[in-house]
């Protein structure tokens, strides 16, 4: 199996290299056959890398410990389903996974490329496959997942216990797919620049892939938070750790892009800016993959310190320098078709949005690299931890939420103060009412009150817009559900955006609730003892230890009461892995829309007492609702429109694009 994997890996390298050269030479010599053949190589890449992936999975399944990677990341005692996790638990396997994901995305990007993108497609393909050459090349020359050991061990070292959690089946693959998916919009942007088609031909494809990668990475990050919350055993979901930041920064830049691309789509403006944003976003995505692979900054997540990181850093540096060189080479052809008429307009609001998103991304980058700067200048590695990010990024997030409530109601081009007042008076009233209510019930933290007030402001604006549109349609004889559905279908980018905005509101509710009103208690309980927290009573009944092949499972049993009401039996557990000298906890979480009761068993003392940490975390459930909601919003925004209408809409906008598209196609 492993040999098959290695051979197909070599094949993938050959295919990718051929695809790059073929499409560039084909485009240069105007040879459609050569380009088509290069694209066929792209279509074959997922097959080759799929076989390679199957080879590694096969080696895991057959417990082939002669393969070093299999030996290092699995053992006979490991539950069989964790082979999927073990597959990407180390550097070599995760790079194979990334390459496979990129191959699938590349084939999809080429296959689904719209007519307007055809003239630049060879360049788009070349850029994607160049990235592919890098990843497959790293495996072939530096980090071969199929490398053999000289002496075949009888058993493997086993999988990192922290990874044996349901969240690990989806979070890392989603995050890796999300990060690598930034290659596609980046390649579309570079293809536009390289082919000289720097008008608006690339916008639809660039926007669609931008939104897709935004969603993939966003879901990956949320799943990461969920995993941290349910297993890391500290009651939190986000710690501003360098690795978390590394996944967050590209997402912020992509979020800026999917907003500002709308300005180009509707008004033909910000052409240079949008291309630059995609280059920056890809740079951050590469930085993310670099930090992940044994970067220079200490992190809870760094898996396998290795020198591989520096190859990634080099690749990132070269990519950025070359990309911006090409960008400035084409600088003069990137002029916008329209100019800004008024700062008080949708365009103006999008610019402020971009400033804030890039602001948060830059602050985060600054926090990540500052320890290195400090080491350089004062010889001491300074910690830049959570309090820094909360204080500096917090206000910017509040400003972004506020903008989210205003910007959608500003018209394009130019707004009058009267329109703005009309649009905002009701949401502001609702927000003030909510603030008054919160103060009345005793919520006092100014940041929390501001955050909740802003959430109400945004929600009120969106609900009002939906209600008005539905009523207006309803007036023409449609029933409420039909009117609402047709309203949404009538302008999917807009209403999909609203759904995503509501998801962000839910996220903000969860963050504000748990960070300002979370209660935490550490207690030592003997069997039969109880502790009171936030109106709950948590009674420890007893624990039992189960010896497994690779771990000792300590299951504790607790009974939860509220007043006299019995709320149920919970069994938080703590697994100890002797071979790793590592414990992993599985919290018991009683989740309600209002608050989570969160119980983790810590150390189990010799006398049978257990150290418990109990939290009451308000509103956290809404953070996990935000994920599916975000996916829903993205699906609404991206659901394909009927084709003839789309062609009709495009034609008069840019005759040249259609004509050149017609020639090639």
């Amino acid at each position: 199996m492993a040999d098959l994997g290695y051979v197909t890996l070599l094949l993938a390298l050959a295919l990718a290299s051929y695809s790059v050269v073929g499409s560039l030479v084909g485009a240069g010599r105007d040879s459609p056959q050569l380009v088509r053949s290069a694209l066929n190589a792209t279509y074959l890449s997922p097959v080759a890398l799929g076989l390679s992936t199957a080879g590694l999975v096969g080696a895991f399944v057959s417990r082939d410990f002669s393969v070093e990677y299999v030996w290092a990341n699995s053992s006979r005692a490991m539950d069989i389903q964790y082979i999927w996790v073990a597959f990407y638990a180390g550097n070599e396997g995760s790079i194979l996974f990334i390459a496979f994901a990129l191959a699938v995305l590349a084939a999809a990007a080429v296959y689904f490329s719209p007519q307007a993108l055809r003239p630049s497609l060879p360049y788009v393909n070349a850029v994607i496959m160049l990235v592919m050459v890098f990843f497959v090349g790293v495996m072939v020359f530096l980090a071969n997942p199929f490398a053999r050991l000289d002496i075949v061990p009888t058993d493997g070292r086993g999988i990192n216990p922290l990874l044996t959690h349901p969240g690990m089946f989806v979070h890392p693959p989603m995050l890796m797919t999300g990060l690598i998916s930034f290659t596609i919009p980046f390649a579309i942007a570079m293809g536009a620049i390289l082919s000289g088609k720097t008008g608006d031909e690339w916008v639809d494809a660039g926007r669609a892939w931008g939104i897709l990668s935004f969603a993939l990475l966003g879901i990956g990050l949320l799943l990461g938070g969920w995993w941290a919350y349910t297993i890391l055993g500290w009651g939190g979901y986000w710690a501003w750790d360098p690795v978390e930041n590394a996944g967050f920064m590209p997402w912020l830049v992509m979020t800026a892009f999917i907003h500002s691309i709308m300005v180009q789509k509707r008004r033909g403006m910000f052409r240079m800016w949008n291309l630059a944003l995609l280059i920056i976003a890809f740079g951050f995505a590469q930085f993310g993959m670099f930090i992940n692979r044994g970067g220079p900054v200490p992190s809870v997540h760094s898996f396998g310190q290795s020198t591989l990181g520096w190859i990634f850093l080099l690749f990132m540096g070269v990519t950025m320098v070359v990309s911006f060189a090409v960008f400035f080479w084409r600088y003069n052809s990137l002029k916008s078709a329209q100019t800004l008429e008024s700062a008080l307009s949708r365009e103006g609001a999008f610019l402020v949005n971009n400033l804030l998103f890039l602001g948060v991304a830059s602050v985060t980058l600054w926090g990540v690299v500052y320890p290195l700067i400090s080491d350089l200048f004062q010889g001491e590695v300074i910690t830049v931890g959570q309090p820094f990010y909360n204080q500096v990024n917090g206000p910017m997030f509040l400003a972004l939420i506020f903008l989210m409530g205003v910007a959608p109601f500003l018209p394009w081009r130019r707004a009058s103060w009267r329109t703005v007042r009309q649009a905002l008076i009701a949401p502001v009233a609702v927000a003030l009412a909510v603030v008054a209510l919160l103060l009345a019930i005793g919520v006092r933290n100014p940041f929390a009150v501001t955050a909740f007030g802003l959430c109400a402001f945004v929600t009120a604006g969106i609900v009002r817009e939906w209600a008005r549109g539905t009523m207006s349609r309803r007036g023409r004889g449609e029933s409420y559900p039909v009117a609402f559905a047709r309203l949404i279908a009538g302008n999917r980018p807009r209403y999909g955006g609203y759904v995503a905005h509501l998801a962000v509101v839910l996220l903000a509710l969860g963050v504000a609730g748990s960070s300002f009103y979370g209660v935490q208690r550490d207690v030592v309980l003997a069997p039969g003892e109880a502790t009171e927290i936030g109106g709950y009573s948590v009674k420890y009944i007893g624990s039992s230890a189960v010896e497994r092949a690779d771990r000792v499972e300590a299951r504790t049993e607790v009974h939860v009461f509220r007043g006299d009401d019995f709320l149920g039996v919970y069994r938080p557990k703590r697994d100890f892995y002797p071979s790793f000298n590592l414990a992993s906890t599985q919290a018991a979480i009683r989740s309600t829309p209002i608050e989570d009761l969160y119980i983790i068993p810590g150390e189990i003392l010799d006398d049978g007492r257990v150290v418990f940490r109990v939290f009451v975390n308000p509103l956290v459930m809404w953070m996990w609702v935000a994920g599916p909601m975000l996916v829903l919003g993205v699906m609404v925004a991206l659901w394909p429109q009927r084709e003839p209408a789309a062609v009709y809409a495009r034609a008069p906008l840019d005759d040249a694009a259609v004509r050149s598209g017609a020639v090639t196609g």
Binding site: L232, G233, W234, A239, R267, P298, V300, L340, E341, A343, S345, G348, A349, L351, V352, L355, G359, S362, V363, W366, Y370, S374, I382, T383, G385, Q386, P387, F388, V392, L398, A399, F402, V406, F409, P411, W412, R413, W417, V420, L424, A431, L432, V435, A436, L439, P446, V449, T450, G453, G469, S472, G475, G490, N491, P493, R494, Q520, D522, E603, R642
Partner: protein, 197 residues
Amino acid sequence: MCYNITDMPSILNIRERINGPPISLGLLALFSIAGLAFIAAGCASQPDTTPSAEEMEEEAQGIDKSLMCPVCPSETIDQSQTQLAKQMRDIVREKLAAGESREEILRFFEDRYGTSVLAEPPRSGFNLLVWVAPPVALAAGGLVLAAALRAMRRSHDSDSAVDAPADEPGLEPYLSAVDREIHGITPAADETSEGRD
């Protein structure tokens, strides 16, 4: 003095007299919501009495979250489950019970383990840089943006001076025509979204 919520609408009217960029309206409303929240919160705060056990524990947890565990990468002593973190948590509580302040306790650990034990960089000396850079960069970004907007608007004005069609209709009528074409929206329904998208 406490603030009356019903005064808010009169504050919002001020913006009619402001001819600034949209941000000024935005910031105004943002500040009014935040301001209201802060003022009200200020009004509500009670004079301090001796801390209860619960308040003391809350204070201790705040300190836990401000101290890094020296032996584990990137975890505070609040998060970390190592023995050392546990001991440090105990020391925090002992010192609080002995009447030491948050600052004194943080300094105690800083003297022992170095500045890197603090979760947030101190706001002094070279490390002031980490705090000052973000607002300065954001302000600079804002200024560049404002300058760019001004330049774009000027070029628009000069363009329109040459081309004359000051209220050139642009793509808007065309796009709404396309929207109607695609979705079969009749003008009646269009009123709600006209000129917005």
